[in-house]
Symmetry: C2
Subunit: 419 residues, 2 copies
């Protein structure tokens, strides 16, 4: 038992080694099992701890940067100013190296695997698992004839899908944001808990939710949304307030550098957008409708997305209103015109030129943002209303360009679908 | 379009910034989209690149440590000696900070989110997606009355599960290793591709595979398998060759420090083991049999696991042969006796004391290891055979205590089940 004894001692030692966080600093819900840091104080200040014995300078960037200080125990610490409620990607900077914090779970955002901290929301129950029937999220692989690659989609099937063998379900196609991937809506967004709770409360209709990856390029095509990751040593010039998010807003990416293209930059995105649209209609939708019990027709099909996913939704959806009766843009849409004013006749490629026809076709046009993101989405909604375009505007109070804003947007959007 | 123009330029710049890897150094399959490093040479040497402008010392630990060198471009580089074929967790050390490499996808191993590199296997086709019918992996949440927590299980359902509404399926309960979690068999193990290919070739029976988390502790109970993560500043003494793996074998964990308890250390694990066993019979199996179309009885139920998951399989399974007709230990079992010789009457708590009875109950007892892991598992299999216990021994040629060994073990084990 010698070996065993050594390990037992080691485990005991490891227990003893724990440096406890202040009693009123609660470990973030996103920490790896047992990690006391990062932790969050009641006033939403956060404390971070890092082991970097020989480092000269250690910083944490959570929205803005905070220098860390080495304490007598040899570990680096910092307590931030109060952070905005919600989910925030963050990265450490250790002697110039931007790396994730080993103390938290890892989330794909900003085109890389990032650390994250959750500043608890007062309304967390709506996206938490409750004692209600649970649907499942299915990892579904399929081959894309357009990209000539295997793709992975995640598909939420509601409670009862397996047992109601005759029932056919409407489908929401739901997209992530720039630098994220098809797992974001489950791991960061808690889409399954949100829908389970809404369906149990009879607030939303049982539906399928299909979550695929925005990235779709043909062989030889150059248009990956992750290319910015190539910049290893220099910062990318920051566009001002892309997608309605103020520069440096937590959640806009693990570093202030490397931003998504602003909504104004539609031309450089068209190639990507068109390939995604082609892939969606050629491969994704047919795969879903072949393998799942889907209710037919545009009135049973919705599309929505967050940030760049909202831009993609408008790019794809406005050109194909024969395919979708519901469109949602969460902190992203076609409503940025390079500073120019909204022109109902020409903006968004003239999709709103005929309000009567548009209102007849689109049962719900949903626009949302976080109140900390700025007024752009609200102004766009008002401009549409002024032009006679029916739309729903939802604002998440006190949240930024991050996942709590988008969880709340889904919570408000889903009940409006397929009525 | 000013904003857009800036971003477009930034994207072009990012393209120009790419430092290309040597032509014969192919990016690892586990890299984030577009990352040229780490890359693998035909002779299985690997090159790593890290941006750490102000660091004094940068190392990569992939099995053993390799010091990196700062080149004129300001980036740190190293090319390793040839690495063993397969999947290897690794971590960077930047001025003493052990962190993951932002260039790769993130995998939960060693109790934290780790980087990984895949040294291509000649037989990679068996765990790659092929043009065959695909099953799905379902993320299934359920509440455990034993741990009083919500738990997440992943459940593979084979092709046809949705359409053959009358068919009931046998179930394999399949466990991850120390410091890993319930997603390991999908993300690191490619369980879905392996099973899809076996079933399409009519080599394995369609079955459900349930993958849960080894970690199961009651409220107030101290026994997390992740506790070792608490050691931030000092290394845990290394047990020699735990679970048959040689010290420092790639894949045994991102660092040589922090090892799983050796198989000999069953006592300190019993508390954990007993709680997992109780949770499995009280919560997991009933949840699966309530929500999925499961064929009844022990002859339709198998249990297997890798490394610590193999130890758990033997701990749970040998005590409950009324529940399981098939047991598999991949690089982990009850076959370590603190150096003592195997005694059929007493070893493994006397589970093998009556060979005739054991052979009647257990249709397949499967033991496997990688040839680089050492002779322990083979010796255990031979001792069992000598004692009259029927067992199957499988050895993965040229692989270590890592996922390629376990993918191949599943590939050999699954066809033997439910015949």
């Amino acid at each position: 038992m010698k070996t065993g004894a050594i390990v037992l001692l080691a485990f005991l030692a490891s227990g003893i080694c724990w440096a406890q966080a202040p009693a009123d600093c609660k470990p973030s819900a996103l920490n790896i099992p047992g990690a006391p840091y990062p932790c969050v104080f009641p006033d939403h200040r956060a404390s971070f701890r890092v082991s970097a014995p020989d480092a000269q300078k250690v910083r944490v960037r959570v929205g803005k940067g905070f220098d860390m200080t080495k304490k007598p125990d040899g570990l680096w610490y910092v307590t931030t100013t109060p952070l905005v409620e919600g989910f925030h990607y963050y990265m450490l900077n250790i002697d110039g190296a931007s790396v994730s914090d080993p103390a938290t779970n890892s989330y794909f955002g900003g085109g890389e695997w990032s650390s994250a901290i959750e500043i608890p929301a007062s309304d967390a129950a709506f996206y938490s698992h409750q004692d209600v029937p649970h649907g499942v999220v299915r990892e579904q692989w399929y081959f894309s004839t357009v990209t000539q690659k295997w793709r992975r989609a995640f598909i939420y099937t509601p409670p009862g899908y397996d047992t109601n063998a005759k029932m056919r379900y409407p489908v929401l196609y739901l997209l992530h944001g720039w630098g994220e991937n098809e797992v974001g809506w489950t791991n960061q967004g808690h889409v399954n808990a949100i829908m389970d709770n809404l369906i149990a409360a009879n607030k939303a209709k049982p539906m399928l939710i299909v979550m695929d990856n925005l990235n779709a390029v043909k062989p030889g095509e150059n248009g990956s949304i992750y290319n910015a990751r190539g910049v290893l040593t220099e910062a990318v010039p920051q566009p001002q307030a892309p997608l309605g998010g103020a520069p440096g807003v937590p959640g806009a990416g693990p570093r202030g550098a490397r931003r998504p293209p602003a909504a104004g930059a539609r031309r450089p995105m068209f190639k990507l957008s068109n390939t995604f649209t082609e892939m969606m209609f050629t491969d994704l939708i047919p795969m879903v409708e072949k393998n799942y019990r889907v209710a037919p027709g545009r009135e049973n099909r919705a599309m929505a997305g967050l940030s760049m996913g909202g831009m993609q939704t408008f790019t794809t959806g406005l050109d194909h209103l024969d395919k979708f009766a519901y469109l949602g843009g969460f902190s992203g849409n076609c409503g940025s015109f390079g500073g120019a004013a909204f022109d109902p006749k020409t903006s968004c490629d003239g999709a709103f030129a005929n309000p009567a026809e548009f209102n007849k076709k689109v049962k719900v046009l949903f626009l949302s943002t976080g109140s900390v993101e700025g007024p752009r989405v609200k102004e766009f909604s008002e401009a549409l209303t002024k032009a006679g375009i029916h739309n729903v505007y939802f604002e998440s109070p006190g949240t930024a360009h991050e996942w709590l804003t988008w969880r709340r947007a889904l919570q408000d959007f889903a009940p409006r679908l397929f009525r």
